[in-house]
Amino acid sequence: MAREINVALIGNPNTGKTSVFNQLTGLKQKVGNYPGITVEKKQGYCLLPRGLKANILDLPGTYSLNACSMDENVVIELLLNENDKDFPDVVIVVADVENLKRNLLLFTQIKDLGIPTILAINMADQMARKAISVDIKKLEEKLQTKIVLISSRKNTGFEQLKELITNYSLLSTTPCLNASDIDPEYFNRLRKAFPNQDLYKLWLVITQDVNFGKLNRQPLLFPSDFKTESTSNLKRLQQKETILRYLFINEILKKTILIDKVNAKDLQSKLDKILIHKYWGYIIFFSILMLIFQAIFDWSRYPMDFIDVQFAALGEWIKVTLPEGVFTNLLAEGVIPGLAGVIIFIPQIAFLFLFISILEETGYMSRVVFLMDKIMRRFGLSGKSVVPLVSGTACAIPAIMAARNIESWKERLITILVTPLTTCSARLPVYLIIISLVIPDHRILGVFSLQGLTLMLLYLLGFSAAIFSAYLLDKILLIKKTGFFVIEMPHYKLPLPKNILYNVIEKTKLFVLGAGKIILAISIVLWVMASFGPGKFNEATTIVREKTSSQNLSEEAIDAEIASFKLENSYIGIMGKTIEPIVRPLGFDWKIGIALLSSFAAREVFVGTLATIYSVGSKEEETIKNRMAAEINPVLGTPLFNFASGISLLLFYAFAMQCMSTLAIVKQETNSWKWPIWQFFSLTSIAYIASLIAYQLLK
């Protein structure tokens, strides 16, 4: 019969804490959210010796218990609340051997709360290379704890760690620092006012208000005669605490750690000289970006085609196998394509996050942030906005969530608001078909295809629009700039495949779950609206047969006419016709209007909707293209899809905020409906105006 204990993994960022979590829990982990805030909650479990089960919570990385962001707040909230069901029975502080001094600050704070704490020194495999040696026994003695050297890379030390966890009750809980040393007089008063409370815990509760935000607990009731300290005094005392702790740590480390500077090898600075060089740094970065995009385009084509074919086959199969009727049609023509619309983007998104994870794991990403920060700031963004903006080319949903590590609220908000302008994968099918229709298939200088160039221009347009909007927003939004920028520049290291895999799976899940449900729901609604209609709709067959009785049409052609007529008179057809006056100045007709409306489910639905509208049986691009090329503009009598209307359509898709799933995520990340609503209206207006101008100028 297994007993269960709670284990919390805490540590500085970049110590490989996540790797430790992955090693301990394997695939037995799940990611959720803390209620009400946008911080990830990672939980898993691990089976320990002697039938014990450990529930492991991977907490956000932090440098100390003095929180200055939501992430860090989660850590202290948990540690101060014994009644929380996740409150740990034992804490593992993951430290990395190179920054031990700084890691120990957090360690001593946690220990002082009286919670059994184990010190796990990670990256132990690097010790020989860095010529660092540690006297474990002595360190254990001085810190009054148990230490284990682990390497998540080489997978060593974990059995020992599990043993230590199992024997957690043997750990000493003596504090490292005597809290009163911070300020004897003040703490004396505290002790008198709150005789039954642990002093250090009390101190942390008081200082939390100063740091970040009010804790989720009852406000502290000071006895009426207690003279509370001013905020600046409290800050001064916090500083003193930090200094005292470091003094303590320095003393200990002097006697227990030896770094032989002479023998330490140093590839790091050589790499940095090139990678963040004033010219080479940028050239290398942009080359890497180009390579990544190229790879994603090329590689994802095969799985995407495969998925496309499979789902089309599945739809057919359903139509044939299930009894004929409306529901079967709903499944085959609404649900299956809806699902396909989500699944088909998984390859592209997974590949992009594969590359981004690799860049992050190696430590290169922080160099990119370093290179780009100054430039980004000119536009109201942060160096850390690079990852969201680049990720946006796959899907805005995980991209927007990646903005969480931006410290300044204003910079983060602006990043979130402009990221949807980058060309996401869903826009691609729309771009491709319009380009192939209206851009001539020529080559400039024999090398550059005009069509390829147009595509590239559209991508550039997306980025430029994002940057330019950020600039405007920076000037318009009256929010104070806060938060202080710091980015740790970890040493370069080889990425751990396991971490990358888990990361890619997580990010892809975000897209599938975040967008999937919404896209599916909208697909169903749209299908129903396109398959039912009032009045004339229900007499389609009769009306069409009458109309075409004089023409000698084949059964197929008649069926196609019927389908087209039905669509025109369905609910969505009526909606399309209603908005036709609005979109005609853009060069569109009601059919395109319908496609625009249906794109709100997912942009790529545009192509499928057009296939239905032009009553094409298969989804073959050639056939759709030919059909579209033959469409005549009812007003002008000239081809509908010409250069002017094509450009107009491209511009509309480039700017319009059609993705409902993205709106939902913006709401989640900004915790308010104000921003997504505002985003929707302004972007769609810009799209309209841009389309309008383009069409009117070019026609």
Partner: protein
Amino acid sequence: MQIVLVILIFCLAAGYLLKKFIWYPIIEMQQKKKGKTTTCGKNNCGCH
């Protein structure tokens, strides 16, 4: 029979969307008018 299923699925889908995009925002607007109930950091309360 089939039409019943269709109507059912349609209501589920439409209901989900309405709930997510119309109902929740309304509730939140009301909550905001009454005053914040969730704790957050200072900073314009974008809750980051």
